[in-house]
Symmetry: C2
Subunit: 235 residues, 2 copies
């Protein structure tokens, strides 16, 4: 099963969690672990841990468990964290600045290579040693170096256009912080189904929406029993 074909979405979220745990264990000098151990820290079942890993290969030793070091390396490889990723941030308000400065964000070969905004008061100023550029310069910027990911930290009413700018610049992954559903551009040929525009093919959008998170919390507080104590949800 080393060649993934039909992997639950939630498995990927959990792999990220397992990796975080392995890094913590390694930092503590612990070098062996088990599905039970990981399950406890990740708050999932041990079955789940083993199944999740089984989608990608065999990383343990029966009767023994897993070597922290080995499993960590494998998970980094699987998640693609062993190669560099160039990231730009669109929208340098308070949130954009917090993201640019977030400790740990530049680990894992992620690097923020460009910061963009449209506000003339912000363009030209420095954040974390980088100069904020005008959004208009994005496409030229992207021609000079590959940009694989973009963060959308712009106001909601600008999010759709900013997303289009990212995709036009060749960005394949968007982390959207705006409380808006990003729409891929479509076009209709007469008599046919609407088609997704070429530049959007293969583009992934992940939403990070804490307003939505608050609202879900409100619901679950009012309706206890509809959810297990604590769940991993991608907001």
């Amino acid at each position: 099963m080393s060649n993934p074909s039909n992997i639950p979405n939630a498995t990927i979220s959990r792999l990220v969690t397992y990796l975080r745990i392995l890094e913590k264990l390694e930092a503590q000098g612990i070098n062996r672990t088990s599905s039970n151990h990981l399950a406890e820290w990740a708050q999932v079942s041990a079955f789940q841990v083993r199944k999740d890993l089984a989608y990608f290969g065999r990383f343990g030793t029966r009767g023994m468990g897993y070597t922290v070091n080995v499993l960590k390396r494998e998970l980094r490889r699987i998640l693609g964290l062993n190669r560099p990723w160039n990231v730009v941030i669109l929208g340098m308000g308070r949130l954009g600045q917090a993201l640019a400065n977030y400790p740990g964000a530049s680990d894992y070969e992620f690097s923020f290579v460009g910061l963009f905004d449209v506000d003339p008061d912000k363009v030209g100023t420095q954040v974390r040693g980088m100069t904020i550029q005008h959004l208009e310069g994005l496409s030229e910027f992207a021609r000079q170096q590959p940009v694989e990911m973009g963060f959308l930290a712009v106001p909601p009413e600008r999010a759709q256009d900013a997303a289009q700018a990212l995709v036009d610049a060749g960005v394949k992954g968007i982390l959207n912080f705006a409380p808006v559903v990003i729409q891929p551009r479509t076009f209709e040929r007469p008599g046919r189904e609407p088609e997704i525009a070429d530049e959007w093919r293969g583009v992934i959008v992940e939403n990070v929406d804490f307003l939505a998170g608050m609202k879900r919390l409100a619901f679950f507080i009012l309706n206890p029993g509809l959810r297990d104590l604590d769940t991993e949800v991608e907001v």
Copy 2:
């Protein structure tokens, strides 16, 4: 089916999205809509929209669709957004400050009633007209007024203790921004299964983890076809 009993988790996330769309439609002066219409904006199927709503009642008129105004009001009620929610923020670094100032965060009857940190340089300073208090004061603070939700914007190594402080103060919903799995306190009676401590019963934790979001993006960019173009995921 007006009394919820077994509602998919993802349905709640989508209701939040539908509500956002309805508010936008209302702001545009549009007063009627349909499951098709909502589905398009939310990037889900029309079946899904109708099924999601059906868990809670009947809000439309056959042949006619939905009245924006009515459906909006119903969704607000269902999600519990028609009543006040007192929220505290723990950790007033860049992220905490961005959250406290986020436009739209104080809509919907959510109000930030207290800001807490442990850093002596921060305690006593003002953010958005409020004085940052020391975390030690939280339990006393919570005795003086109800606190239903707490945001965890502290460094990862402090997140577990800060979560415990929130729960000890009676908070029932935690929005966790730290890249850590929060563990409910458990205790073991000899010979029995570990039990969850009383103060954690009914507590909901939602995670908002943009680092995890980045890592998932990396995976999905490297493995296209494992996910449909753009998905709603709780980070």
